[in-house]
Symmetry: C2
Subunit: 295 residues, 2 copies
DNA sequence: CCGACCCATACGTTTTCGGTATGCCAATGG
DNA sequence: CCATTGGCATACCGAAAACGTATGGGTCGG
């Protein structure tokens, strides 16, 4: 069975005439007549009553017409929807983000996205450092806002910004009275550390920073997230060396101070699978760049 | 665009593999692969991600799949529905009936119909003597229960029963005390007459009955319906010579008595357009015969 | 490094479709 | 009563599309 036959059938039913329908379909009358008869023989019953002045639907024909025209509309809508999704004007975009960036970026990013791609369903998911790669690879998120960027052969990275490191401490810490903290003063102080990049602890930006200044800070605790780090800092367990934007989500009682002489920063990046070719990714990247610009 | 392509697409999407889908479709793998690529080029975007272990839908493919499978189901249901309507197991049957027959037949006919053709929507309409032909000819009713039968070249008639004539009179009429009324006693009595068959008054069954018995009854009134006739009879305007089943709908105060020596009767018939070939008509005829049998 | 698996491409064959010419039937009009 | 018109059906031919077989070219697993 062929959708062309159904299309022809609907045309004839609506025109109530083979000739008129043929004209509208830009084809000759005889082949249309043949197709209609083929459809009838396929169904095993006449769909039209042939009168001397055109064709008229039988009851069977009416039953078919209702479904066929709906099916045609659905099929057309299907290919239209596929095109729209491919073009990025419809569809779904799953955005993953690391929680440290939420306060700094989402309030600007989300309205920007809704304005740029109004037909697209947005879907946000918080990512942890340990699962973000897997979530990209298994496509449960399409793009990820990461800090720092992901390094993986299958994952494409676009750096959209950076955050300087700041020293996080309880407000009652002596350093809190300083406008900025010289690196040298950190010597020997306890550090609340985040997980280093997998399999290469020395590549951590914080580790590199300390090494370059020849500072040694004993690791008081290792925690998974920036927020856990801040909790321990607040509890007096040690200092945090954290991206500046983390202060937007910091609990009361924590203060951030610049590190004097330290220009190191940590990248903010948009990451996606190399084989995801959705145009939504480009659009998302543009929006994310706008949202990150004021930082 | 061809529904075959959509069918192939759905098969491949469900099998997640061209080869498997080809097997299920009983065709070779290469042409299926070609068709899928043609569909993709028609849409202008890839619908599948080709992996080393089969195919996987892209977002555009998912958008299409949802609509396409629904459209396929609808199209299949459409041809199925058309077949079912043609076979008489689904559809709609518009039944016209003359009101004289309603009390006598519908209580048995309707349950019989619902049992015989449960998938068919029934639709009942009362017919008047003057419009019943038109209602059949313009197909606003499919079958009609008539008394007497319709005679028309385009209309097919099946006699399913007959009703003897009875004399209808007010209960206070002297004849009401008789068990039956001899024809001779009607001489000169006023008659409430019904409309004669169009253009041939002498062919009326009542006229023929009176003529054969050489009785003359002056026509006190001509009315359109049996019920109107009974109203006038009750009002004392004259006698009615009416089909026996009319007494089932007679108002209080009217009695019916057999006409002695008169074996004349009036046909009950099922009528339909000659060019209506719905199998529902046969089924309806069977049911009507059953429903009329006890009369 | 080789075989297995799976999709893509190429080419010849067959089916199907569409166009033109024409026939048939009924209704209309002189 | 016959001719004309309008509409659908049939016949035949050329063109296009689809199918099958053979084959190529990747990747994965042993």
């Amino acid at each position: 069975m062929d959708i062309r036959r159904l299309r022809y059938f609907v045309a004839v039913a609506e025109a109530r005439s083979v000739g008129k329908a043929a004209e509208r379909l830009r084809m000759a009358q005889p082949p249309l007549s043949v197709q209609i008869r083929k459809l009838e023989s396929e169904i095993g019953a006449p769909l039209f009553r042939r009168g001397t002045r055109g064709m008229d639907l039988t009851e069977a024909g009416q039953a078919l017409l209702a479904r066929a025209s709906e099916a045609l509309a659905l099929a057309a809508d299907g290919i239209e929807a596929a095109r729209a999704v491919a073009a990025g004007s419809r569809g779904r975009l799953s955005v993953g983000y690391m929680f440290v960036l939420a306060n700094a970026m989402l309030p600007r990013l989300i309205p920007e996205l809704r304005r740029s791609i109004p037909g697209v369903d947005l879907d946000f998911a918080e990512l942890s450092a340990s699962t973000r790669e897997a979530r990209l690879l298994d496509r449960s998120v399409t793009v990820a806002l990461c800090m720092p960027a992901i390094h993986h052969p299958e994952i494409q990275v676009a750096r959209i910004g950076a955050q300087p490191f700041m020293l996080a401490m309880p407000i009652r810490s002596p350093f809190a009275r300083l406008g900025s903290v010289p690196m040298a003063r950190l010597q020997g102080r306890p550090l609340i550390a985040l997980p280093p990049p997998e399999r290469d602890p020395s590549s951590s930006a914080v580790a590199a920073l300390l090494r370059r200044h020849q500072i040694v800070m004993p690791i008081a605790s290792r925690v998974e997230t920036v927020h856990s780090a801040m909790s321990l800092v607040l509890a007096g367990e040690g200092f945090g060396i954290l991206p500046a934007c983390a202060r937007l989500g910091a609990p009361r009682g924590i203060v951030f101070r610049p590190l004097r002489d330290a220009t190191d920063s940590i990248d903010i990046a948009v990451c996606w699978r190399r084989d995801s070719h959705s145009p939504l990714i480009r659009t998302f990247l543009k929006c994310a760049e706008k949202a990150v610009a004021p930082l």
